[in-house]
């Protein structure tokens, strides 16, 4: 059964197949996003898989029906088209089914999104930020974007958080063309400890990120640790993650930001709690020392 019309289909299919066969060894194909290492990334991964299945089923159904129609109903000698159209109410089941599908996906979308937004508290092995040496604690973030924001900032370390719950670690991530600046808690305002490009955080600890930009739009995205968040100048956005494993997680900006845009990358180094504390101490010492040198230079001139 390979007369004219099928020939085109066969040609397309075989060319595509040939392409994929050539392509297959080039890459071990992975159908899921980066392996999640944070509860919010896990929720998003689940949502991805649910929607992947729904989408794939729809695509296969539609295209199978289309191909079946082409093969079965092409014009042959003696074929008469059945001149029928929808009678009254013939589309009602279709409309009903589609509406149900839309409502179901919407409900699922709302639930899964709430799950992702919900900030989990630090685990047993994590750092309690209120216990660590903090001289000054910065004020509440300006923009309330995340729902978990109230519970997170409601715990005032000075008045005392709930004894069972560890305070999250709050990091300010400030984007600029084309590097990230991370400011760690502690230190006087204007004299905060900071690092560029690489963020070091303790494992099993809730990290709240306040994301800002000093120039153009950027976005914060570490696939293993959660979704994208836009860094818009003048507007602070929040996200969070809780890394479950030590390691180095790459991230990148996904909003075009000018000539060196691909360089707008970031790395999150997840380390143990003691390593984190010593890292920050070391960083603070280095910065103080460097600032001292600069101050002496300035004074000597």
């Amino acid at each position: 059964m390979a007369p004219r019309p099928s020939r085109l289909l066969v040609a397309c299919a075989s060319a595509l197949l040939a392409g994929l066969i050539v392509a297959a060894p080039a890459q071990a194909i992975q159908l899921a996003p980066a392996e999640p290492h944070s509860p919010n990334a896990e929720d998003m991964n689940t949502a991805y898989w649910v929607m992947f299945v729904v989408t794939a089923v729809l695509i296969v159904l539609i295209n199978a029906a289309l191909i079946a129609a082409i093969v079965r109903f092409r014009d042959r000698r003696g074929r008469r088209p059945a001149r029928v159209a929808a009678g009254r109410g013939a589309l009602r089941p279709v409309l009903g089914g589609l509406s149900l599908l839309a409502i179901a996906i919407f409900a699922y979308g709302v639930v899964t999104t709430e799950n992702v937004r919900e900030v989990e508290s630090s685990g047993p092995g994590g750092l309690d930020a209120s216990q660590s040496a903090q001289v000054g604690v910065k004020g509440a973030p300006q923009a309330a974007v995340l729902e978990g924001e109230e519970s997170a900032t409601g715990e005032d370390p000075i008045t005392g958080a709930e004894p069972t719950e560890k305070a999250p670690l709050e990091i300010d991530a400030i984007a600029q063309q084309w590097v990230w600046r991370f400011e760690y808690p502690g230190g006087q305002p204007g004299q905060r400890t900071f690092s560029y490009g690489e963020l070091v955080v303790p494992v099993d600890t809730t990290v709240l990120m306040n994301i800002d930009s000093t120039d153009v739009m950027h976005s914060w995205w570490v696939p293993a640790l959660g979704g994208q968040v836009q860094a818009a100048p003048g507007k602070i956005t929040q996200t969070w993650f809780k890394a479950d494993e030590e390691g180095r997680y790459p991230g990148r900006s996904t909003i075009f930001s000018g000539s060196a845009y691909p360089a707008m990358r970031a790395w999150v180094e997840v380390v143990g709690v003691p390593e984190y504390q010593s890292y920050v101490e070391q960083l603070r010492g280095d910065i103080t020392e460097a600032q001292g040198i600069v101050a002496r230079e300035v004074a000597s001139q």
Partner: protein
């Protein structure tokens, strides 16, 4: 100043005041005939398709291997900025507008459009805008990215005048689209043939009507954004400047509203074309005219309302993103209904698999993948993960190539005989579809997988060891194959314009009124405008002619055979013993 007198009529030859014939190109450039304007729009849009394909191919050449340095970052970013505006503003929307300008007045049985000069003016605004964008290649090319997002497009960050050219070009083009839409809605609203009630309006005209109102909403919004950006750049404005009382996010909102509206135009136009082609070539009426028209309108309304669906990452209050998700998911109903109607129209038909139908079927298949995928990205937590990656881009490309390119070629195949009285080469058209279909999958599937690995869009390089090398190589090959198919089909069209097979006024047996006019139609379109009594007026006319012919035949069969006299062929009264055996109907 002599008073008029009633002189006896006598023949006279007038030589003054009669316009001398003008050169063809002047006639073409100044003719306000909707068919001439439509042809100009189509030709210009297809020219920009060639440019968009070229820019796209160059960018894919750069991305064949990781950390490629063949094309410098500056050049790549300029290609990127030019390709975005070329694809959306200079190709996809004008292609739809050109087809609409040509076909819709014919389809609704009008002898012209309501505001012909406005129509022509809209074309020239668009062309001047396009020239403004491309003239910048002579000094500095725009380099602020696909959407020229503020504050990157502000003077501080993009001091080159390429961005000014981008802004000016888009402003002029959107001003043109606004004027086009005014003419379009007035024409469809007030100039339909007698009897063509809304329920009998052909589906492509329904799509055009929806596009007209949609453009009236989104084109002025983009025009306003461009004016504001220009004020920011050149006149010390602070509309989009953070820290000065401005709101950078405002630009993103305005631009996303426009670009999602452009997406809707591509989808609705392709859906309108498909809804014309399927009934014609399956020999059946559309399964439900009313539901199809309602779906087209619903898509045009819902897509732009869901503009924040592409801004889930932005600092928006939670409620807005939920609202955007609701509108985006509500699209399941009209899009699903349309797909069902199309399949039901094909089912139990007799499909004449001409090139136009093949392109329509390919458009359905390709768009269905993109639209189903869009369903996934509409869920906020999936969007957070995959927006702005090549996975989302591959999905958008499925819709734009399926709707804009394949749907556009379907329209071209279908109405080409009306444009120039010739058929668009059938066999070459079908052959060109193979690389297009292979190319789009070969491009989009690896790009989807690379997006899962985390490759963002718009980058001029990717890094080794990020697991996307192989994907990019295959995607580049796919892009070249796709481009080859598109260019082959364009060459086919260019050749057929002068050398195609001649076609009569109704080569496909269409059911709508554009096939009642000659090919190409005279300036006034119709010698007589028929009354419309159903959504398939031409079918009614054909039926009436058939019935009349049959009644003539029946009468002729009843009449006795007339004989004539030998030398002068004068009618001779029938003899009594005429041969009844040859006329069995004579009782």
């Amino acid at each position: 100043m002599t008073p008029p007198t009633l002189a006896p009529a006598r023949p006279e030859i007038v030589t003054r005041g009669v316009p001398t014939p003008r050169p063809g190109w002047v006639e073409r450039a100044t003719s306000a005939d909707h068919k001439s304007v439509g042809t100009l729009y189509l030709a210009t849009a297809l020219t920009f398709l060639v440019l968009a394909v070229t820019e796209f191919v160059l960018m894919r050449v750069q991305l064949i291997v990781p950390e490629n340095t063949m094309i410098s970052p500056e050049i790549f970013n300029r290609l990127l900025s030019a390709a975005g505006v070329t694809t959306a503003v200079l190709f996809a929307i004008p292609l739809a507008l050109g087809s609409i300008s040509y076909v819709v007045p014919l389809q609704i049985g009008a002898r012209g459009v309501a505001l012909p000069r406005l129509n022509l003016f809209s074309y020239w605004l668009y062309v001047v805008g396009a020239v403004a964008v491309y003239a910048s290649f002579l000094y500095t090319v725009p380099e602020a990215g696909t959407y020229s997002l503020a504050p990157l497009s502000e003077m501080v960050f993009s001091p080159s005048h390429g961005v000014d050219a981008w802004v000016t070009g888009v402003a002029l083009a959107t001003a043109g689209f606004t004027l086009f839409a005014v003419n379009l809605v007035v024409t469809i609203g007030r100039m339909r043939a007698p009897g063509m009630a809304w329920r009998r309006l052909p589906l492509c005209s329904w799509a055009a009507n929806a596009i007209g109102y949609l453009l009236l909403v989104i084109a002025p919004v983009m025009l306003a954004a461009m004016v504001m950006l220009m004020i920011d750049r050149q006149f010390d404005g602070v509309f989009f400047q953070a820290g000065e009382g401005g709101a950078p996010l405002l630009y993103e909102h305005l631009a996303m509203l426009f670009f999602s509206g452009g997406y809707a135009i591509v989808v609705v136009f392709a859906a309108g074309v498909i809804s014309e082609i399927l009934p014609t070539f399956s020999g059946k009426p559309i399964f439900s005219h009313r539901a199809a028209a309602a779906s087209l309108v619903a898509i045009a309304v819902l897509v732009p309302l869901a503009w924040m669906q592409s801004m889930y990452e932005a600092p928006l209050a939670e409620g807005w993103t939920i609202m955007a998700m609701a509108f985006a998911l509500a699209l399941v109903v009209p899009i699903g209904t349309l797909l069902y109607i199309w399949l039901a129209t094909l089912w139990r038909g007799a499909l004449r698999l001409r090139a136009a139908l093949w392109y329509a079927l390919a458009a359905i298949s390709t768009m269905s993948i993109g639209l189903a995928g869009e369903l996934g990205y509409s869920v906020i937590s999936v969007g957070w993960q995959l927006d702005n990656t090549t996975a989302a881009q591959a999905d958008t490309l499925y819709v734009l190539v399926g709707g804009g390119v394949m749907g556009g070629f379907a329209a071209l195949h279908y109405w080409f005989p009306k444009l120039c009285g010739r058929l668009l080469g059938e066999s070459l058209g079908k052959i060109a579809l193979v690389p297009m279909l292979v190319g789009i999958h070969l491009y989009s599937l690896p790009m989807f997988l690379a997006g899962l690995e985390g490759q963002p869009v718009d980058v001029f390089k990717y890094f080794e060891g990020t697991g996307v090398d192989g994907y990019n190589l295959i995607a580049s090959i796919g892009a070249f194959v796709l481009a080859a198919g598109v260019l082959l089909q364009l060459a086919n069209a260019a050749h057929s314009w002068g050398h195609g097979l001649s076609a009569a006024h109704d080569p496909w047996g269409g059911a709508t009124l554009e096939w009642f006019a000659l090919s190409p139609p005279p300036p006034h379109n119709f010698d007589a405008v028929p009354d419309v009594r159903s959504p398939e007026p031409l079918r009614d006319i054909r039926d009436a002619v058939r019935l009349r012919t049959e009644s003539f035949q029946a009468r002729a069969a009843r009449e006795p055979v007339a004989a004539t006299t030998a030398p002068h062929a004068r009618p001779e009264p029938a003899t009594e013993d005429s041969d009844d055996a040859e006329n069995p109907s004579v009782a």
